[in-house]
Subunit: 205 residues, 2 copies
DNA sequence: GAAGTGTTTGACCAGACGGTCAAGATCACG
DNA sequence: CGTGATCTTGACCGTCTGGTCAAACACTTC
C-alpha cells in the first residue's frame, strides 16, 4: 500500500508541507476542482517537485485520506463500555463538535469524498469503518438492554451524532450566513444545545 | 436574472431534459467534476445543443440551484405557528427525511455547493434563507417561552434537523456501507429513530 | 574535492474541456 | 407549399491540466 516512511529530513519536511497544502486545497475545491498548480503554490514548491514526492494527484489525495481516517475515528474508539452511558455519549458528541471546530478542513475533505460516492475510500468504509461502528453499536445496544439508556437504534444514533457535529464544519458557510458570528462563538451555543439535547433524549425514563 | 420562461414546446421539453441530466451529473461529480459532454450524453443531446439552451456551464448550474431552492425550503415554511409545537416539529423532521429519501440528488447538489463554500449561492443564503430561518426561529422561541417546548436554541435545533435528515442523502454511501440495506428499508428505522428522538428531546418536562 | 545520491526546475506534451461558428435540418404558420 | 424562425450538429479553437524529462543544483560521505 503506502510506500515506506520518508527517510531523509528533507523528505519528511516536504511531505508534510505538501499534505498540509493539499488538505487546504482539496477540502475547499474537492478532488476534481483542485489543481496541482494550486497545491504547489500553497506548498511553496514547483509542480514537478510535488510529483517527485507523490507520484500523482491521486497519490496525494489517497495519502491524505488514509492518514486522516484514523485520527477521525479515534474519538469513537474512546467511548468506554464500562463508563456511564449517557455521559460517555454526550462526551463523544462534544468531542466530535470540538473536532468540527478545530479541524474543519479534515471534515470537509471527507464530506467532499463521501458526497460524491466515496470513489477512493469505499473499501475503507466497507471494512475498517463498518467493523468499528458495528462494534460500538453492539456496546450501545447492551446499554439499552440494561435499561441504562433510552431505547434507541444504536446505528442511527451514531449517524445523528456525526451529522449534527460535522454539520458545523461541512456547512460552515451556511451556518455563518444565518448566525453571522464574528469568530467561533456560535460553537458555544452549539455545545450547550447538543449537550442538553442528547442528554434529554438519551436519559432513560 | 433568469431569461423569460421558455416559449415553444421544444424549448420547454429540452430545458427540462437538460436540467434533469445536469442534476444527475452535478450532484454526483460536483460542479468542477462534471463535464458538458457528460451532461449532453445524459440528456441525449449534442454539446453545442446544450449551449443553445443554456449559454454556459455556469448558467445550467445556476438555473438548477435557483429552481430547487424554493422546493427545498418549502417544508420549513409549512411549520404552523398555530399548531402543536412538538408535533409540528416532528412532522417537519419526517418531511425532511422523506425528501432525503425521494430527492437525494437535490440534497447532494446543495451539499456539494455548500461544502465548497457556496461560491454560487452565497447571496441566496445570506438573504432569502437567513430571513426565513430567522422568522421560523422566532416562532419556535415563542413556543419555548410559552413552555410548550423544552428549552432549546431554535437556530441550532433547525441545524440539527437539517443535519440529521440530509445526512441520509448526502452520506448515502457511508450509511449503506455500514448498514448494507437492500433498498431503502433503513429509512424506516431512521424514521422511527428520529421521531422518537426529537419527541423525547422536545417535549417539555 | 570528487563522486554519488538526493532534490529542484524550466520546458514541454497529450488529452480534456468549455465554448464558438457556420451550415444544415426541422418546425410553425400563412 | 413556401418561407422565416427555430433547432441541431460536425468541425474547430484556445486554454487548462496532469504528468514527463533531461539537465542543473545541493547535500553527504569518504
Amino acid at each position: 500500500m503506502t510506500t515506506a516512511a520518508p527517510q531523509t529530513r528533507i523528505q519528511k519536511r516536504n511531505r508534510e508541507v505538501i499534505l498540509n497544502a493539499a488538505l487546504e486545497v482539496f477540502s475547499t475545491h474537492g478532488f476534481r476542482g483542485a489543481t496541482l498548480d494550486q497545491i504547489a503554490a500553497a506548498a511553496g514548491l514547483s509542480k514537478p517537485n510535488l510529483l517527485y514526492y507523490f507520484g500523482s494527484k491521486d497519490a496525494i489525495h489517497i495519502a491524505l485520506l488514509e492518514g486522516l481516517m484514523e485520527t477521525w475515528l479515534a474519538p469513537l474508539k474512546e467511548i468506554d463500555p464500562k463508563g456511564e452511558p449517557v455521559e460517555e455519549l454526550v462526551a463523544y458528541v462534544l468531542h466530535k463538535l470540538q473536532m468540527a471546530r478545530d479541524f474543519p478542513r479534515e471534515s470537509r475533505l471527507f464530506a467532499n469524498e463521501i458526497v460524491q460516492g466515496a470513489p477512493r475510500i469505499a473499501p475503507q468504509i466497507d471494512g475498517l469503518l463498518k467493523a468499528l461502528v458495528d462494534e460500538k453499536a453492539a456496546e450501545i445496544a447492551r446499554w439499552v438492554e440494561e435499561g441504562r439508556l433510552a431505547p434507541v437504534d444504536p446505528h442511527h444514533l451514531i449517524f445523528s451524532i456525526w451529522a449534527t457535529t460535522q454539520h458545523y464544519a461541512d456547512f460552515d458557510v451556511q451556518v455563518r450566513g444565518i448566525l453571522r458570528p464574528k469568530g467561533t462563538e456560535h460553537f458555544d451555543a452549539a455545545t450547550e444545545f447538543l449537550a442538553a439535547f442528547y442528554r434529554r433524549a438519551l436519559t432513560p425514563a
